[in-house]
């Protein structure tokens, strides 16, 4: 079953079947990591451009590794040292990359919808690596992949009856949005919890339960996905009174974790603010699958590149 679009812009635009197809395809790619030769010739001769307008370490490295393990050629464009600082617009940059015969453009941009604009204007496959407050689809996919794997929900293919609690800044988090779209499509029960100022209005309309107190949200949780406090957005000055108060109310500690199910999974998209949204005891504890998320991220990105790479 092929993907309908040439691009991956968000989980909002995918069907349940397409999401499951990507997840199923990622499993055999994960097996490659156990081999001594971790590289296959699948995308030999294809060119992948990483166009990052915002800082990133793990997403960029993960995409780069995924592309290289498929034998594609990878070009990294550091926007601060490119023509963009001379005022070149996004579409022009995209057209230039296309004229250089790039097959994939992987873009991170501060504006929501920037990848959609790019995708409409070039024939190369565009993969969204995070856009503004909108989506981060490969992160959503790798989170769901990790949940399916750990909770053994691979066959029978849906996540019905699984309670996933997303904690923190839902408003600014594209990770949260992609998780919500994907998880609700696969049938999981999704709850969000955080300060009222950081819960976007109307989010309950896409099938999400809203809580404002951790104590109300955590009981019965199978998965807790903890979002990073985005210090760079100066949340402390606008959205909540102080970091200390945030930690007191929403920081996940070992004591708080006890309210969830015994076999709860603790996830975090990274980078961690230890001692703020998550205590070190939890981050490094037995429930944490944060490292596995990173490994699975490469497999998911390989699957996405493979599935979008067919058209030639």
């Amino acid at each position: 079953m092929p993907l309908k679009s040439k691009d991956l812009l968000g989980l909002e635009y995918l069907t349940k079947e397409e999401i499951e197809h990507i997840l199923d395809t990622a499993s055999p790619f994960k097996d490659l990591f156990t081999r001594s030769v971790k590289k296959v010739p699948t995308l030999r001769g294809k060119t992948v451009v990483l166009l990052f307008y915002e800082a990133s370490t793990r997403t960029r490295t993960s995409f780069e590794l995924a592309a290289k393990r498929l034998s594609a050629d990878v070009i990294n464009i550091t926007v601060s040292a490119s023509s963009v600082v001379k005022g070149e617009g996004l579409i022009d940059t995209g057209k230039t990359l296309e004229a250089m015969k790039s097959d994939f453009v992987i873009i991170r941009h501060g504006m929501s919808g920037a990848p959609n604009v790019l995708a409409r204007n070039i024939t190369a496959s565009v993969i969204n690596a995070g856009d503004g407050l909108h989506e981060h689809p490969t992160q959503g996919l790798l989170d769901i992949f990790t949940i399916r794997e750990k909770k053994k929900r691979i066959r029978g293919n849906h996540l019905k009856g699984l309670k996933v609690v997303i904690v923190g800044d839902i408003l600014h988090s594209r990770v949260a949005k992609s998780n919500i779209w994907g998880l609700t499509k696969l049938g999981a029960e999704v709850c969000v919890v955080g300060p009222a100022t950081l819960i976007p209005q109307g989010i309950e309309k896409i099938g999400v339960k809203i809580y404002y107190r951790l104590e109300d949200a955590l009981p019965g949780a199978d998965v807790i996905n903890i979002l990073r406090v985005q210090l760079e957005r100066q949340q402390q000055s606008y959205f909540f009174p102080s970091l200390h108060e945030y930690t007191l109310l929403y920081g996940i500690t070992k004591e708080r974790l006890a309210a969830a199910k015994e076999d709860v999974l603790v996830m975090h998209p990274g980078p961690l603010n230890r001692g703020i949204e998550i205590s070190s005891e939890v981050a490094d504890g037995p429930s944490s699958v944060i490292q596995e998320q990173v490994t699975n991220g490469i497999a998911i990105r390989m699957a996405v590149l493979y599935l979008l790479g067919g058209g030639g």
């Binding site: 079953m1 092929p2 199923d24 395809t25 499993s27 055999p28 790619f29 097996d31 081999r35 001594s36 030769v37 590289k39 296959v40 010739p41 699948t42 498929l70 699957a303 493979y306 599935l307 790479g309 067919g310 058209g311 030639g312």
Partner: protein, 179 residues
Amino acid sequence: MEFKKKKVLMTAKEIGKTLNTLAQEIAKKENLEKVALIGIRCRGVPLAERLAKELEKLGAKNLSLGILDITLYRDDLSLVASQPIVKETKLPFGIDEKVIILIDDVLFTGRTIRSALDALIDFGRPQGIKLAVLIDRGNRELPIQADYIGKKISTSLKEMVKVELKEVDSKDEVSLWEK
């Protein structure tokens, strides 16, 4: 244009007999202690399992048995309309110093085998790689030949050889179809 069934090339009984003959040939020529059977997805896999059973009847012990998925090594990925489904490769043994017998149902252009060789080499350096197929239908596009052949037939490019095996399909049969 649809394919129409022209004739049956092998019945269930003949498939069984052919596998038995192939096993005897392999047992005669190879050192069974070094042999590992690797089936190419999809129908090479049940064939490898059946051959392993036959070889065990002939005295082979603890035969290594593996599965190879060649999708990621194909040379036509940008030509096919939709991406073939990637499945797991399972080689639960080291291939260094082994004599690998690759097993597939039909040998045609030779491109699958070319991909399989590339895939295998990424796992190590076997002492040798041999090829066993149920049907050799000719029309090679690469200089590749099989070491063990169940049945050899000549076909045209308009024809298709269909191998059905109980493990995957509803019955055991090899048939020839034409457009």
